[in-house]
């Protein structure tokens, strides 16, 4: 999920979950529901510089609202809404249990829970599930073509979304309350993709268009009461909600949650310090970090993310159509300097690989560090200069395109300084955050080097390697070409397909294969991994029971308010 600025860590599930677990029995069918006991109540005030766009869960692709969807929308499956490593487990949500998968991996059968209602009082039925998947294509959900295209009938839906039926692809049987997904091919990540907010189950009557600021009825503990992108988003308790699973649908604690928009990050920090807000979505500005980490240490939560900040080198135009020039950049980049520009060693770790540490498929190696080893220790500028001389690209112009916020621009300035030192003639172009990401994807803009980030959608190696580097992700002259380096290696594509197949039968072997693929890509150097970031959550002093899910980040509705 690229637009996100946060991800993973492990904070151990706290006492609240034990309380919840105690009052809501096991994870399959019990009622749970009820109140959260003594910690229930109050209004949680969140704040963000700006709104996160459409409220439609099948369209929105931002962490800002994905974090809120955890307490509002449900799909057949979900990632466990708990803190710590368990949050990486996929658990049944609206389904009574994990699906029955056919031997060939092409059929998934779910049993839908009974007795669940939307916030408008209507019961959730199998028809709602089918309609939701049809709608996913009708509203051209961002990943409809890349995640859900394995469903039978998806090709027709992608061609003519308005008449999408997914005939034979999603089959409901109201008499047995089952839903069956038929796939064109086995997909080891299908369950993960069903656990994403795009696959939320919505009322069948929901309009087949991006609902924008109009809230759609929810199944979770809260519903969206109002949304004004220039002012605030208000979530209220869903009176029809009864928890059916402590892991998938725990009861929320605050009675109401609101998120106000418009403050600067500086003002957000001050508001939290003064108790006027309880949490800020945005990262605290760099000049407030020492203040919050010393004066407000108990209210500051730092967690590592499965994310990567990297440089994309355009492999189709000079000078980085030359492999040695690309490798030179990998040798020359001082990762420790870039980490400092991000906020220091407490907020980021130098990266050598495309797959983040502790991520499925990650292998420990570091091809571009002085004196060798598995971790990055120092840059080798002399070697880089040597490679640049060999490549014959010295003296060429290089344009670096970054976002215009202070961290990105700071790294951009460092890159320009380094490139000039290496013998290139570098210039910096800092573009608005809204524009830069699409701009650098379009080959028509002839961007040579760009700074960007990738945050996981779900824990799978392909979510990094295939998305960022496969031939299928490269679309020349398109604003939507996530393979920004424009690198296409059919041999490595074939290896990824093979690793996918292995994942169905032997996940350990598949992980090893993904590690090898990562190493092979690093040898070609279409990307320059810079660092793996950490996330800061700054909360007010009336907030407790902070939990961090690797998938959903801070569990907003599990916070207790004094």
């Amino acid at each position: 999920m690229r637009t996100i600025t946060k991800t993973l860590v492990s904070v151990i599930a706290a006492a609240s979950l034990l309380v919840l677990a105690a009052c809501s029995s096991d994870s399959s069918t019990d009622s749970g529901g009820g109140s959260g006991g003594q910690h229930t109540g109050g209004t949680l005030h969140l704040t963000a510089q700006s709104a996160g766009g459409t409220l439609d869960p099948q369209v929105n692709y931002t962490l800002q609202y994905w974090q809120l969807y955890q307490g509002t929308y449900d799909g057949l499956l979900t990632y466990a809404r708990v803190g710590g490593k368990k949050s990486e487990d996929i658990v049944p949500d609206l389904a009574t249990a994990m699906p029955k998968v056919s031997a060939d991996g092409k059929t998934y059968t779910f049993q839908l829970r009974k007795g669940i209602t939307f916030s408008n009082g209507k019961a959730v039925t199998t028809a709602d599930v089918v309609a939701s998947f049809q709608r996913l294509f009708k509203v051209s959900s961002p990943n409809a073509g890349s995640w859900y295209n394995v469903i039978v009938g998806a090709d027709a839906c992608l061609k003519t979304p308005a008449s999408c039926t997914l005939n034979g692809g999603v089959v409901a049987d109201a008499s047995t309350n089952t839903i069956t997904f038929n796939l064109t091919q086995a997909d080891p990540e299908f369950e993960a993709q069903l656990a994403m907010p795009f696959a939320s189950v919505l009322p069948a009557g929901t309009k087949a268009k991006d609902e924008g600021t109009t809230p759609i009825p929810t199944t979770g503990p809260y519903y969206f009461a109002s949304y004004s992108p220039n002012k605030a988003l208000v979530m209220k308790r869903n009176t029809h909600f009864k928890s059916w699973s402590a892991e998938a649908a725990p009861v929320g604690y605050p009675n109401e949650i609101d998120e106000t928009f418009g403050l600067t990050a500086e003002a957000e920090v001050t508001a939290i310090e003064n108790g006027q807000a309880d949490w800020m979505y945005d990262t605290p500005p760099s000049d407030r970090l020492s203040e919050i980490s010393s004066k407000y240490a108990s209210q500051t939560h730092v967690t590592p993310l499965t994310a990567l900040w990297y440089l994309a080198l355009n492999t189709n135009i000079a000078p980085f159509n030359n492999e040695k020039a690309r490798q030179a950049i990998n040798w020359a980049i001082d990762r420790s300097a870039v980490v400092k520009l991000y906020g220091g060693t407490s907020l980021a770790s130098p990266a050598c690989t495309i797959l983040p540490p502790d991520f499925p498929g990650h292998a420990d190696f570091c091809d571009y560090t002085k004196n060798g080893g598995n971790t990055w220790t120092a840059a080798d500028v002399d070697k880089a200069k040597q490679l640049i001389q060999q490549s014959g690209t010295a003296g060429q112009s290089v344009g670096v395109v970054v976002q215009n916020d202070s961290v990105n621009k700071g790294i951009g300035l460092y890159l320009v300084s380094l490139l000039n030192q290496l013998g290139y003639k570098a210039t910096l172009k800092a573009l608005s955050n809204n524009i830069q990401y699409n701009y650098i994807q379009n080959t028509g803009n002839h961007v040579q080097m760009s700074l960007t980030q990738w945050y996981q959608d779900y824990p799978a190696a392909s979510d990094f390697l295939r998305v960022l580097l496969s031939c299928a992700s490269f679309h020349p002259n398109s604003d939507s070409s996530i393979n920004i380096a424009g690198y296409c290696n059919t041999g490595l594509d074939a290896q990824m397909a093979k690793a996918d197949d292995e994942g169905l039968t032997d996940p350990t072997a598949a992980d090893a294969a993904w590690g090898e693929i990562d190493k092979a890509y690093m040898g070609e150097s279409p990307l320059v991994p810079l660092f793996n970031p950490k996330l800061i959550d700054f909360t007010s002093n009336r907030v407790s029971n902070y939990q961090f899910s690797d998938q959903y980040y801070m569990l907003v509705d599990q916070l207790w308010l004094k």
């Binding site: 000049d287 400092k340 220091g344 060693t345 700071g410 300035l413 320009v416 300084s417």
Partner: protein, 347 residues
């Protein structure tokens, strides 16, 4: 004034004798020289300009630093101890990195470092060169263009006046900063290409031309008004009557009389243009990094306001001093070259 004034002087012994009086320029200069505010402003400006011009010497021989090169992992020596230029926080959770603050040692990070580990004082001097260059160049271009448009429009009148005046109206119709921002955003993305002339996005000519252009109406309008008035004066009518060509009248009668007004405009426009340049650079659409101007340094300091305010405050102070000095000097020049304006002000 174009006319020569002759004064009659009387010798000590009462024998009248004639001599040429001091010319208007000399009178004006003498008047400015006796104005302590103007002299103080001029001295301040001279010092600022001289110090800024010496920036490369300071960087190379005193501070031994390259103000355009990032120095993120660099170290320096303070009180005999080697310290990192950018220091990792150690208190509490240890979040964040802070550049070193002012050392008040002229040869070593006098005003501290910015977030790239660069010497702020050295950048301040280099930034001053850029800001002063842009302010002065754009003021000259602006006044020259404004005078040209105003004189042609006012003297020839009719359709020429109508076209030029409407053109000025169109430029003036836009809020000046909005126009500057729009032009900057467009031109700084791809540069300017007019036939064989190509100006790159990082070229300082772009902000100079943009700023000069947006303020042309501010100069052209009053000049046009003055020319309309001059056209009806006796000496111009006499020249016309004597069969002087338009070119000669424009050069000898009109231009000479509007020149003091143009000169008065130069320091005032320079101050205004410097502020505009700083505003554009602050918004990242003026001088492009790694070049420095006072506006870009203020922008660099924005994220250090809580911890290292000197980075933003120092260029701000320099801007204020320079702009105030230019305005005071401009007022003095105006009073000296156009005594009527002073009388009008007193009335």
């Amino acid at each position: 004034m174009a006319e020569v004034t002759v004064a009659i002087a009387t010798s000590e012994r009462g024998t009248p004798r004639s001599r040429r009086s001091a010319g208007p320029w000399r009178v004006a200069f003498t008047q400015i020289a006796h104005n302590p505010v103007a002299v103080g402003s001029a001295i301040a400006l001279v010092i600022i300009i001289a110090v800024c011009l010496a920036a490369p010497l300071y960087a190379q021989f005193i501070a031994h630093t390259d103000p355009f090169q990032s120095n993120i992992n660099g170290t320096t020596v303070i009180d005999g101890h080697s310290v990192a230029v950018l220091q990792q926080q150690t208190q509490g959770l240890g979040l964040g990195v802070e550049p070193i603050g002012p050392t008040w040692n002229i040869s070593n990070y006098f005003l501290g470092a910015d977030s790239q580990g660069r010497d702020v004082f050295a950048r301040l001097l280099y930034g001053g060169r850029t800001t002063l260059l842009i302010g002065f160049s754009s003021a000259l271009i602006c006044c020259a263009l404004g005078a040209l448009v105003g004189i042609i429009a006012g003297y020839f009148g009719g359709p020429v006046d109508w076209v030029l005046s409407r053109l000025m109206d169109i430029i003036w119709a836009f809020p000046v900063y909005l126009l500057a921002i729009s032009l900057s955003v467009v031109l700084l993305t791809g540069g300017l290409k007019i036939g064989p002339i190509v100006i790159g996005p990082s070229n300082l000519l772009l902000p100079i031309l943009i700023i000069a252009l947006i303020y042309v109406p501010y100069v052209a309008r009053p000049i046009r008004g003055q020319v309309l008035s001059l056209k009806n004066r006796e000496f111009v009518k006499a020249a016309i009557g004597l069969g002087a060509s338009d070119w000669r009248i424009l050069r000898r009668e009109i231009l000479r009389n509007v020149l003091p007004t143009v000169i008065v405009f130069i320091p005032l426009m320079m101050a205004l243009n410097m502020l505009t340049e700083s505003a554009l650079s602050f918004l990242s659409i003026g001088v492009q990094p790694p070049n420095a101007s006072w506006g870009t340094i203020i922008n660099d300091g924005l994220d250090l306001l809580y911890t290292r305010p000197a980075v933003a405050i120092a260029p701000g102070i320099m801007l204020v001093i320079t702009a105030v000095a230019l305005n005071l000097l401009g007022d003095a020049v105006r009073d000296a070259l156009d005594p009527k304006a002073k009388l009008r002000g007193a009335a």
